[in-house]
Amino acid sequence: MSGTRTAIRSLCTTSILTALCVLGAPAHAQATDTTRADTVARPFVRGGVYDKPFLTRIGGRSVIGGYAEAQARYERVDGRREQLGFEARRFNLFANARVSDFVRLGAELEVEDGGREISLEFAAIDVRVHAAFTLRTGMLLSPVGRFNLAHDSPLNEFTDRPLVSTQLLGVALSEPGIGAFGQFRAGGGGRLTYEAYATNGFHDGLILDSPDGTRVPRGADNFEDNNTTPSFVGRVAWSAGPAWELGISTHVGPYNTSRVDGAWIDRSRQVHIWALDAEGTLGGITASGEAAIVDVDVPEAMRGVFATRQSGAFVDLVRPFGRGWVRTMPGSAFAFKARWDLVDFDRALAGDSRQQFSAGVNFRPTQDTVLKLDFVRGRARDRFNNAADHAFALFSIATYF
């Protein structure tokens, strides 16, 4: 009897230890966290603050995250104008919920410059019908070039975003809209992806709000379509494998208010953006770049000081090295980087452009955190084609969380 009791005790102990080993952390968590999802049969207020699906049903499928970036900048222009300062550049919050096997919601709230600018950069509902077709609506990141779709600071190897993205297209460019995205197999390990949306497009601020001539970013944030005619934005990308991608994208639509109370006050004037992006890795060097052309139908009476055609391009080269050199951080790595950047605000003029070269070194303690040291040297030309040289020394830290 005693032997049987001993055998049973031994079996129980073994079973408990095995269960603990198998379940590991969850078992430990269960031991310390006694909270449960709200599952009340009858809520205090139906649909009220404690009767939300993320509390009662979706539970652990709602997640929150984000990234933060801070930087120190030294800038000098023409050997005279100097600026030295620190910036709490960005604090972005991500929220993501897998509502069901077919419905997903993603959002990004951006807080810039210590709260001076707060914007909902992305908030889209995805309804997945098939890998080749997912319906998306909400506040969309416009697929104009690849950089606009993937521009998180911890991901970007440089402290500053490319000129073509910030000054020509206005990253992050997000618009209310609806459309679809999807992917197809394209031979071997290749695939073809697409995104296509109807959006509100740009508004006439791109000429009316801009004191510097035509500036597309000034026409963003068209939350209520000013011309009741949607714009179209789309990107098609082909990749032969994970390390290579080639994309072409366009954004076309009217920007001006052409009718008021049914009466025509101007003809419909279009903005047309074409962008080409590419990324690839060869010999340990990752190269990526983007080129864009912007055509704006500027009213004839404003031409000469407001550009009708603009363009820009950048190329990034990144070469990682020194993986594990820091012994206390075995997953750490360094990277050399270089970027060439150009934006031409008025193709009809010799001047009104900006060109720069950036170089530096990064250190990633882990993949999600990056310390960046950049040196930027460039030249801006005014409308008279007078040159002004600039140099920046930048140090920044960015991390996902």
Binding site: N256, D266, A301, R383, F384, H390
Partner: protein, 399 residues
């Protein structure tokens, strides 16, 4: 120890080279002497702060929502005056009408605004009217020009050519606008504008805001509208679109802008100076004047080496625009200052645009266009040997 001592010079040299390279790497400053937008010597810290405020306003471009237009020529002061110097032919302004016909205000005069905001129509040059093209002039040194006493200019005037030298400079008497403090209704010598048609920097500034950019001020509180297109929209910004403080800041900035110092006295330039006088050029391009009283202490009692008498002269039919302005006739022009010619191409991509409409692409070409009262000087110039011509050009080009 010995080693440390031996490497010290090399270390110092390396540090110096590194520092030098670092300076170049972080961009190097252009010497003040080669710029057109530096303040006068001797300004107080209060004046310098005002100068910086005015500099920012002078460079500030206007958007449509901020009040640009409804009709306009360009977006900012700096958009026409490159580096605070002269403009290019693309910035040339078209003036029409005369005092006799009210400057053809009903046709868009006195100045044609060739651009317009959406909903407004730009003005077009009317057919069959006399027009005069005006290149934006340099704006440096204008505070000193304003500070030259009228008596000094009148002493140079010789409207009846009593000394029979063929030069008969006379002032362009104008009546300043009623808003100019202390000068209401009083007759003054005009010293700004190609024909000296404006007496004060305040008028020059508010007129430029109103005419060139369509920006309203307390002095010109109403939008400059297209005269013949009643359907043409006004802009939606509240008037006045800039406060008096902004106008005052720009006027103060202009007053405090220093003229560039002349270049080095090379042997050619020294010889050219004598030839300049011998040819009679200095009869109109008077080398120096002296400033009198001025609102800013640094402007008072200074030698003003502008090479101008600020008076009107008949320049002959080839330069005539047949467009009287103030008391200036259609063949008269104010003697343009020669200071700053050393840097005339500095902010224009190496190109020179001289005379009132920028037609002359070199100093020699500008001299060739001289006529009327300057005919004798031009004839003298043409008679000079090539070496002497080069010396004279070296002198003028070093101012």
């Amino acid at each position: 120890m010995k080693f440390a001592r031996s490497i010290r010079p090399y270390s110092c040299a390396l540090l110096l080279v590194t520092a030098g390279a670092c300076g170049a790497l972080l961009t190097e400053a252009t010497p003040d002497a080669d710029l057109l937008d530096v303040p006068l010597d001797g300004l107080s810290s209060t004046d310098l702060a005002a100068f910086a405020r005015g500099d920012a306003e002078f460079s500030r471009p206007f958007s449509v929502r901020e009040g640009l237009g409804p009709i306009f020529n360009d977006l900012s002061c700096a958009a026409c005056h490159s580096g605070d110097g002269r403009g290019r032919p693309e910035n040339v302004l078209t003036r029409i009408g005369t005092p006799a016909d009210g400057f053809l205000a009903s046709l868009g005069g006195p100045q044609i605004q060739s651009r317009a905001i959406p909903g407004a129509s730009p003005e077009v040059v009317p057919v069959g009217v006399t027009l005069s093209l005006r290149l934006p002039p340099p704006v440096f040194g204008v505070g000193l020009i304003e500070a030259v006493p009228e008596a000094a200019l009148l002493a140079l005037a010789d409207s009846a050519d009593t000394n029979r030298d063929g030069i008969s400079g006379r002032p362009n008497w104008v009546v300043p606008a009623a808003y100019v403090p202390g000068l209401s209704g009083a007759r003054r010598i005009g010293r700004f504008g190609r024909k000296g048609q404006t007496a004060t920097l305040l008028e020059q500034t508010v007129d430029a805001y109103h005419q060139d950019m369509g920006i309203t001020t307390e002095q010109h509180p109403n939008d400059n509208l297209h005269p013949n297109d009643p359907a043409s929209a006004s802009d939606r910004a509240n008037d006045p679109e800039i406060p008096s403080a902004t106008v005052a800041a720009v006027v103060a900035y202009l007053r405090m802008l220093a003229p560039p110092a002349p270049g080095p006295e090379t042997p050619d330039a020294v010889r050219g100076r004598a030839l300049f006088t011998q040819a009679g050029c200095s009869a109109c391009h008077v080398p120096t004047l002296t400033s009198g009283d001025a609102p800013i202490p640094a402007l008072r009692g200074r030698t003003v080496t502008l090479y101008s008498d600020l008076l009107l002269h008949d320049m002959g039919p080839r330069l005539a625009d047949a467009r009287p302005d103030g008391s200036a006739t259609g063949t008269e022009w104010k003697t343009p200052p020669l200071w700053g010619l050393r840097l005339m191409t500095r902010f224009l991509n190496g190109q020179a645009f001289l005379l009132h409409d920028g037609r002359a692409r070199s100093i020699a070409e500008a001299i060739d266009w001289h006529g009327g009262e300057a005919d004798r000087a031009r004839t003298h110039w043409l008679g000079l040997s090539p070496a002497d011509q080069r010396a004279l050009l070296a002198f003028v080009g070093s101012r």
